[in-house]
């Protein structure tokens, strides 16, 4: 094996070990952990036997193994971006729901006690900088 393969296999070994530890310590469920272990092992095999990419590429009509690797990497990156975007949208909606809940709850508590001092939660006296959420509550 050349230097790149040695370093690559070492890195793959570390990633497999981390995935196994995550599953054993229950930080990840066994399904997702197993999936990632398979992915790392397949990546390691391609590193050690790069000729397999040529066989796979010809099987699906792509000329060179390197082209297959590049196309696959681009595709997986785009899928990763898309899934990340969907998750960001979902988190955006969750944040809005939380912010709305706080606003409505605060309004209800102020209505219950109209005499309570009402502070502008975002702007301290003489200061036009947003305060952190932690410093907002008394």
């Amino acid at each position: 094996m050349n230097l790149f393969q040695v370093l690559g296999v070492t890195l793959i070994g570390i990633l497999v070990a981390l995935s196994v530890i995550s599953v054993l310590r229950r930080r990840a469920c066994w399904r997702s952990g197993s999936l990632w272990i398979l992915i790392w092992l397949a990546t390691g095999y391609v590193l050690v036997r790069p000729g397999i990419t040529v066989v796979a590429a010809r099987a699906i009509g792509i000329g060179r193994g390197a082209d297959l690797v590049v196309y696959s990497a681009i595709l997986m990156t785009m899928v990763g971006f898309f899934l990340t975007y969907l998750r960001a949208r979902q988190q955006d909606r969750i944040i809005t729901r939380l912010v709305r809940h706080i606003a409505l709850t605060d309004a209800a508590s102020w209505n219950a006690d109209p005499g309570a001092p009402r502070e502008n939660v975002n702007v301290p006296e003489g200061d036009h900088v947003n305060r952190s959420i932690e410093s907002r509550r008394p």
Binding site: R89, R93, V99, R100, R118, N122
Partner: protein, 265 residues
Amino acid sequence: MAASLKVMSARPDRVIGEVQGQVRHPEHAVARADDTLTRSAPFNVFIVLAAYNEGARIGQTVREVLAHYRHVVVVDDGSTDLTAREARAAGAVVLQHIVNRGQGAALQTGIEFSLRHGADCIVTFDGDGQHCVEDIAALTRPIEKGEVDVVLGSRFLGEADNLPWARRLMLKAGVLFTRAVSRVSVTDTHNGLRAFSNRAARRINITLDRMAHASELIDQVHRSGLAYREAPVRIRYTEYSLQKGQSGSAAIRILLDYLLKKVLP
């Protein structure tokens, strides 16, 4: 308190009747005009204003609205100026988003608050002084009479003072786009002055937080089968309000947000 209640036609510059009576606020009026309108229970109209850094203007806007309507709800959308304080001092009920979430999110918060407090009709109104309080009656009256559930204000049926041609072009493009994608035929798709009945407000759920909520609202109104119509309103374009308007790049972003919402979960 004796007062005069002017009954306005759909065009706000035409008074079609005048009634002398004991009124505290217009929504409690027992009035007779060309068409008889009697109400034994008060028709609670809530005016919802979403405001972001409108400290310079919100107090005046709130006072203008409070002169005609009792329930004014200002949703301060994470402002970094004294918007909430000014609105509260002017007499509005103020809800505060602790971080900025966008006009769509702020309006939905105001709508939910209004529904919890017995609103029969909810009117969304801009906090930057673009809208005229006198136009609200033309939106609420058809809802009070039970004719429709939603009334959408349209500057192209009314008056748009000092509307820059570029802004007019962009708004017209928005109308064409909405007709093509949603198959909803309205003349003004991005007018913040709208009125919803209690039933309509319960069916609506704005999920697009930023400016694309306007297109989403029209889509939801159309799909829900709610009866709706447009009414002419006036828009006052001032240097202040034009600064706050949408740029061309923001318009493209609104378009993308709306299209993505239609195809993505």
